[in-house]
Amino acid sequence: MNALSATRLKRMADELELKLDEEDLARLRPMVADLLTVGRRLRLKGQRERPKPRSS
């Protein structure tokens, strides 16, 4: 997976209409990168194991 660049994060924030300054983006970037890694790991696991159907 590509590393989350500052430019990409800024573009995504702009698309979401979030007025984040440089300091915000610097703080946010490692947090979002971590979260995206977690999300990717959980998605891959989810493809391997399916939950049981609801009992009711």
Binding site: K19, L28, M31, V38, P51
Partner: protein, 460 residues
């Protein structure tokens, strides 16, 4: 204890104060006035209150006295002053969530959990401090700077229901309401030497509390498990928790996920306290067995993913229009979920379903699980973990059960060499809150930890 001694009323449990009020030896107005005085004296040091509701609390206490005098006793919470985490809406009383976004907000209506607690007769004494919107790392520049731990006021109390746990531990109020989406009731309860319950998901209506709805519960914090049962009755409107809290627990099977706990590498003092707590449970005639539950670490990570997505979802309007009113940490914490996909969120929810089934299966072979609450002792160590919360961090033992919905309680379970309390977490079956409280009560009564109090009464 002489209930009429106003210098000592802060030591009363909810149950003791409730009996005193019914018998007439404790007057709600005097009780409230004594606690207001205590809050005024201690809060400059502890910083646990956002708003002290002095006038309204005294008026409510007077009304309670009048009702009781005229035979309209509502139950054991009638006339009991409680604190309320300041993200839980209180009608007519400023609710800030410790954010400049809501600095002047006075709700028209109580959150359902608050309304139920008031219907049971409780009085709102104070709105209590928290991490901004219960999801940020607190700082000195927050609307209200973070609460200090009454056991060691040079250190901050763990959050996010920090003010609730501090107020209860310091005797400012006998009980408080908090919210818990990853451990935010249990962690501060553990860190402050009091009991805190995250009830089964949905048992208490948690709307009106600014929590992520899939995983957040409003829960009680108190100095005894008996008081937790009383609060749970009030907050749910369901009787019977108190009756069942003292039921025999000999023969209860306690499952311990040792490999999961060991992988988290808890602080040696936490590990030692936990080992001693397990010996205490065995001494009570419980059978302590090892269990293996795959996926708990994934569930902790998935809980935070869900939290982040739901936090952004709830805050996106304000984040687009008032982002500068959030503190720097809350701004980042509430924004990060915006960058996740629907597939990420769905995967996290699925992890919850898978692990919930596994937990349910394990909880047919054992009655409760036991783990530490927090892998570290101090707030400084917790902050080092929380800098990267997505792997579970400080919430590695607490967050899985938010995602799965199982009830979990922190009870005092030890004391570090530096004098900071250490909690024991017990986890019950879905909707098994009453059985969980019975095990917690038995453990609490067999150990000295819940009787210890921070040395505050020499504080200026």
């Amino acid at each position: 204890m002489n209930h009429s001694d106003v210098d000592q009323v802060h030591l009363l449990s909810v149950a003791e104060a409730g009996r005193g009020i019914r018998e007439g030896s404790v007057k709600p107005t005097e009780y409230v006035e004594a606690l207001v005085e205590r809050a005024r004296r201690l809060d400059p040091l502890l910083r646990c209150t956002v708003t002290l509701a002095t006038d309204a609390a005294i008026a409510d206490a007077r009304a309670a006295e009048d009702e009781i005098l005229h035979g309209k006793w509502r139950g054991p919470l009638h006339g009991i002053p409680v604190g309320v985490k300041d993200c839980i809406a209180t009608a007519g009383l400023r609710t800030t969530a410790n954010s400049r976004v809501l600095a002047d907000w006075v709700p028209e209506n109580d959150a359902p959990s608050m309304a139920a607690t008031r219907r049971a007769g409780a009085i709102v004494l104070a709105k209590l401090n928290l991490n901004e919107f219960a999801w940020s790392i607190p700082g000195e520049d927050d609307l209200c700077p973070p609460p200090r731990n009454p056991w060691s006021p040079t250190q901050l109390a763990m959050g996010s229901s920090s003010g609730s746990a501090v107020a209860v531990a310091s005797g400012i109020c006998p009980a408080a309401l908090g919210t818990d989406a990853g451990g935010s009731v249990r962690q501060p309860a553990s860190n402050c030497g009091v009991a805190g319950l995250k009830p089964t998901h949905g048992l208490i209506d948690s709307s009106g509390a600014f929590g992520p709805p899939s995983i957040c519960e409003v829960g009680p914090i108190a100095r005894t498990v008996e008081d937790i049962a009383l609060l749970l009755e009030g907050m749910t409107g369901i009787p019977g928790y108190l009756d069942r809290v003292k039921k025999p627990v000999r023969g209860t099977r306690v499952g311990v996920p040792h490999s999961y706990i060991d992988e988290a590498r808890p602080d040696p003092e936490v590990a030692a306290a936990f080992a001693e707590a397990l010996r205490g449970l065995a001494h009570l005639g419980m059978e302590v067995v090892e269990v293996d539950i795959q996926g708990l670490a994934d569930a902790a990570a998935a809980d935070f993913l869900v939290l982040n997505v739901e936090a952004f979802t709830a805050h996106q309007g304000w984040l687009r229009t008032r982002i500068r009113d959030y503190g720097p940490s809350a701004r980042a914490y509430h924004t990060q979920g915006a960058f996740l996909s629907a597939a990420d969120y769905t995967a996290a929810v699925r992890v919850g379903e898978v692990v919930r089934h596994r937990l349910d299966a394990v909880l047919t072979a054992v009655d409760v699980l036991a783990t530490p609450v927090v892998p570290v002792v101090t707030t400084e160590a917790a902050r080092a973990n929380k800098a990267r919360p997505h792997a579970g961090g400080t919430a590695i033992f607490s967050a899985p059960f938010n995602l799965t919905g199982h009830p979990a309680i922190s009870v005092p379970g030890g004391m570090s060499a530096s004098g900071i309390p250490i909690g024991l977490q017990l986890v019950g079956r879905l909707s098994g809150d009453a059985d969980l409280l019975a095990v917690a009560h038995a453990y609490e009564q067999a150990t000295p930890w819940h009787t210890m109090r921070p040395a505050l009464d020499s504080a200026p």
